[in-house]
């Protein structure tokens, strides 16, 4: 066997994809029968590679180290004198490794085929898929000048129908009535100057006024009560509210 150093130098420091990849490289290079791996030799070469990697300051993935320890473990088991048959399961220490290597080999071989196939099949050009919908105008246009003038007349006519003929006669725009709490307060206070007691229904009633006005009136009464300008009294639920002026 060559020295560690010369072996390491002979190894082209290619990047291996993983420990299996490296092992395969070694097996192929040495023309080794995969079913009978000379574990001593392979372990030696594997370790040489790792040392070389370290010398080149290459990063060594942890998986390489796991494999290194696996190889060393197998090597040590094979060096040990065989135990009595009943103590051992009769298994070759290399068996698990061989099974995994064979499994890996299949995919590695197929990956080479994939690479070749890609070279061949990438020479075909495809069109991008069209989207699932197309724009389709069912209306047929006949754009003769006669037709155009007809269309134009029809548009004018349609526009005329749309416009309100009374537009010019309109002088005022209907506005929303403006009722403020402030104005209602004034109204109540004015009434209270004339009478000392008012009934709410006398002042505000839905019979005479809009809903907004009644609600605003009610709020005005509450405001006055809060400001202690009036006192309120309601004898029963839903009975009339009596409003009395409070004298300062």
């Amino acid at each position: 066997m060559d020295s560690v150093l010369s072996n390491a130098c002979k190894l082209k420091l290619q990047n291996f994809e993983g420990p299996f990849d490296l092992l395969f490289h070694l097996i192929e290079k040495n023309k080794i029968n995969i079913y009978d791996i000379p574990i001593n030799e392979i372990t030696g070469q594997y370790m040489d590679y790792l040392f070389a990697m370290r010398e080149m300051d290459m990063e060594i993935a942890s998986e390489f180290l796991v494999m290194a320890s696996t190889l060393l473990h197998i090597k040590s088991r094979m060096l040990l004198p065989e135990r009595k048959p009943e103590e051992t399961d009769g298994e070759d220490p290399r068996e698990q490794l061989i099974i995994r290597l064979l499994e890996y080999k299949k995919y590695k071989e197929f990956s080479r085929e994939l690479k070749d196939r890609q070279e061949k099949w990438k020479k075909l050009f495809y069109k991008a898929a069209e989207f699932g919908e197309i724009e389709w105008d069912e209306v047929k246009f006949d754009l003769s000048s006669y037709n155009l003038s007809n269309i134009y007349a029809a548009i004018l006519q349609r526009n005329e129908l749309k416009t309100n003929k009374n537009t010019g006669k309109m002088s005022q725009i209907v506005q929303r009535e403006k009722i403020t709490i402030k104005s209602k307060i004034k109204e109540i206070l004015n009434l209270l100057l004339k009478k000392s007691m008012l009934k709410f229904s006398e002042v505000f009633s839905l019979k005479r006024q809009s809903k907004t006005e009644v609600v605003t009136g009610f709020l005005a009464v509450l405001e006055l009560a809060k400001a202690k300008k009036v006192s309120l009294e309601q004898r029963r639920h839903f009975s009339d509210i009596e409003i009395k002026a409070l004298k300062k």
Binding site: E17, G18, P19, F20, D21, I27, E28, K29, N30, K31, I32, N33, I34, A61, E63, M67, R100, L102, E103, Y104, K105, K106, Y107, K108, E109, F110, S111, R112, E113, L114, K115, R117, Q118, K120, W121, K122, K123, L124, F125, Y126, K127, A128, A129, E130
Partner: protein, 181 residues
């Protein structure tokens, strides 16, 4: 409709669609049973291949797609400017090989078979739409399962996944370092 007419229509549809057109769609549109459509389309593939045309038809997945012929590649490619693209790494090819035969497969299984972390290879394959996530495994942690895409079939010249040769064929390929297969 006679067969010639049907062929004409299928050809027009394949051209218009660009992407693959499923056999089901062809049979729906033509109002013909799938078996008839399939045999007509399969016959068209042979015709296109044998005639002096620059385009051909490929069966991909469950449908058909038009493409230019490989023989014309050297000329056709001159139509386009070339963008240097990093091809797939050996790791990516190995990962793809494992997914193709074991799909749907978890990341853990891929790594067990390759003996090395395969994250970057996997994400490269996903970027190239050769592989997609295909559900989760009903197992602790519900790991993501990966499978190959229609683009995988297209890129590697397979009609369907059943076109893949038996994986055991590759086991026999090299022994004692010599190529046999």
């Amino acid at each position: 409709m006679d067969i010639r007419e049907i062929e004409t229509i299928i050809e027009a549809m394949l051209f218009a669609a660009g992407g693959p057109v499923s056999l089901e769609k062809i049979s729906d549109i033509l109002e013909l049973d799938k078996k008839t459509c399939r045999s007509i389309a399969d016959n068209m593939i042979v015709k296109f291949q044998e005639s002096g045309r620059g385009i051909t038809i490929r069966e991909i997945g469950k449908g058909y797609q038009m493409c230019s012929k490989a023989e014309c590649f050297d000329y056709v490619r001159k139509l386009f400017s070339i963008r240097q693209k990093q091809g797939l790494s050996q790791a990516a090819f190995e990962t793809l090989a494992i997914i193709a035969y074991n799909q749907p497969v978890t990341r853990a299984k891929i790594e067990a078979l390759r003996g090395v972390n395969s994250d970057s290879a996997l994400s490269k394959l996903i970027d190239c739409s050769l592989v997609i996530e295909g559900g989760r495994m009903e197992a602790p942690g519900r790991p993501v399962l990966y499978k190959t895409t229609e683009n995988f079939l297209r890129s590697f010249g397979y009609k369907t996944l059943s076109d893949l040769p038996s994986i055991e064929m590759f086991a026999a390929r090299i022994d004692n370092g010599d190529k046999v297969g």
